[in-house]
């Protein structure tokens, strides 16, 4: 067998290895206002549409998307460039096994997805996530609310997070468009 001289055994001081936990996963990327600007750079104004779901809306959205609707309404803006409507900007959140993720979906005027942008995420804790009051603290959060956001969150190479929950959330947002905005 060819000698393998190229490797050295690397040993971090064991005390350090066991004591360093990965940083808490929490990060704020963009405020709603920043994300609106990024989504529609040419827009001159954003007009909020107050979408409150009726029970029929909830049923329709759940049927169309196959996703459970937890919220009672949705934060939706119409973006205008002068008098021209250039698209929709919709803020939503999903709760995964590990993370609560706030994100925004930019739709063109015909309801086609332009892109999905993550606004912020926070770690969710297995058992606590089913606790309604714990959940409540994340519902209707504004960008001003202090959360334990680590602005210096690290760049990590290693086990990755799946974006499946967001992909499923986007399906629900599209069903909302079909139901309430089209």
């Amino acid at each position: 067998m060819r000698p393998t001289t190229g490797w050295v055994r690397w040993a971090a001081p064991p005390a350090i290895v066991v004591s360093i936990a990965a940083p808490a996963l929490a990060m704020r990327y963009l405020s709603v206002e920043q994300a609106q600007k990024v989504a529609f750079p040419d827009a001159t104004r954003f007009v909020e549409a107050h979408v409150i779901f009726t029970p029929a809306d909830v049923a329709a959205i759940e049927r169309r998307s196959g996703q459970k609707v937890l919220a009672r309404g949705q934060q939706v803006w119409r973006a205008f460039s002068g008098d021209r409507m250039v698209g929709f900007f919709i803020v939503d959140y999903v709760i995964g096994k590990h993370l609560v993720i706030d994100y925004a979906v930019a739709l063109d005027p015909n309801g086609r997805v332009g892109h999905v942008e993550i606004l912020e995420y926070r770690e969710s804790y297995g058992g606590e996530i089913s606790n309604r009051s714990w959940l409540a603290q994340f519902v209707g959060k504004t960008s001003q609310d202090p959360l334990q956001i680590d602005q210096d969150i690290r760049n990590i190479s290693g086990a990755t997070l799946s974006s499946r929950h967001v992909t499923e959330g986007v399906k629900r947002v599209l069903a909302l468009y079909d139901t309430c905005l089209r």
């Binding site: 393998t4 050295v8 971090a12 290895v17 936990a21 963009l30 993550i118 690290r154 760049n155």
Partner: protein, 302 residues
Amino acid sequence: MTPACDSVRRARPLLGTFVEISASGARSGDLHAAVSRAFDIVADVHRLMSFHDRDSDVSRLNRKAATRPVAVHPWTYEVLRWSAELHDASGGLFDIAVADTLQRVGLLPDGDSGRPRVARPGPRPAPVALLAHNRVRFTRSDVRLDLGGIAKGFAVDRAAEILQALGVPRGLVNAGGDIAAFGAEPFTVHIRDPRDASRILAEVHLSNEGIASSGAAFDRRAGAPRVAIVDPTTGRLASTIAGATVRASRCVLADALTKLVVVSGRSADALLTRYGASALLVSWHGDVLATRSWGKELRPAS
């Protein structure tokens, strides 16, 4: 508490994970425009190379390329060229035609051609013939491509390239752990322990290069952590190495080479040297090894 207008950090769900892009050193408006453009590029790569999307180049190839040459996007062609080179350099250990095995063990959904065919163990000849004018065809009828082992690194490189082309002085693109960094001042990158994702194993400083990690993830189907990389010599998932991190001049190389380190462990040495790459590997029974070139620089996370 808005930070000064010379640094942005954003994330989008792409490539099945979260892609994060940091950019700094220019006007905030310009940085945002460049980052948006870079995300669009990643989305383009995703559309071209997704196994799941019926209209991707990969899906078109899997449907047609066994019977006739198929024209692909220049980027897909480039990834196939890298794959062919690495297949050749590794004696067939880097194999992009292992979708059948991944389907068999439940790591990829069954395609439209029904029940997955099962690979015979042992390295196989190059699965793809590269023809003129960005056309390719399969060399055998049983080929089913999955570019999951290399496309993410390629996307990261393309995104970092466009940021630089648009005048961003310093930036980092991170697609679920596949990272490219550029600029004068290095970025600190932490490497997760593949045996325990809540732990950081080490930190390195990265500038104008790529890094990628492949490691075990908990698998509900298997009821245990496992590595989603096929060892072509056995036709099964690689099982001795829990994870590997490779650092190379480009992220596409780092991404592909991690698969080879996971499959061949210490003997990936020569290949790493050939590409000027360095690596850290963690075996299931606890050994942590680093290539000599990297050993000096690696430090415990602080």
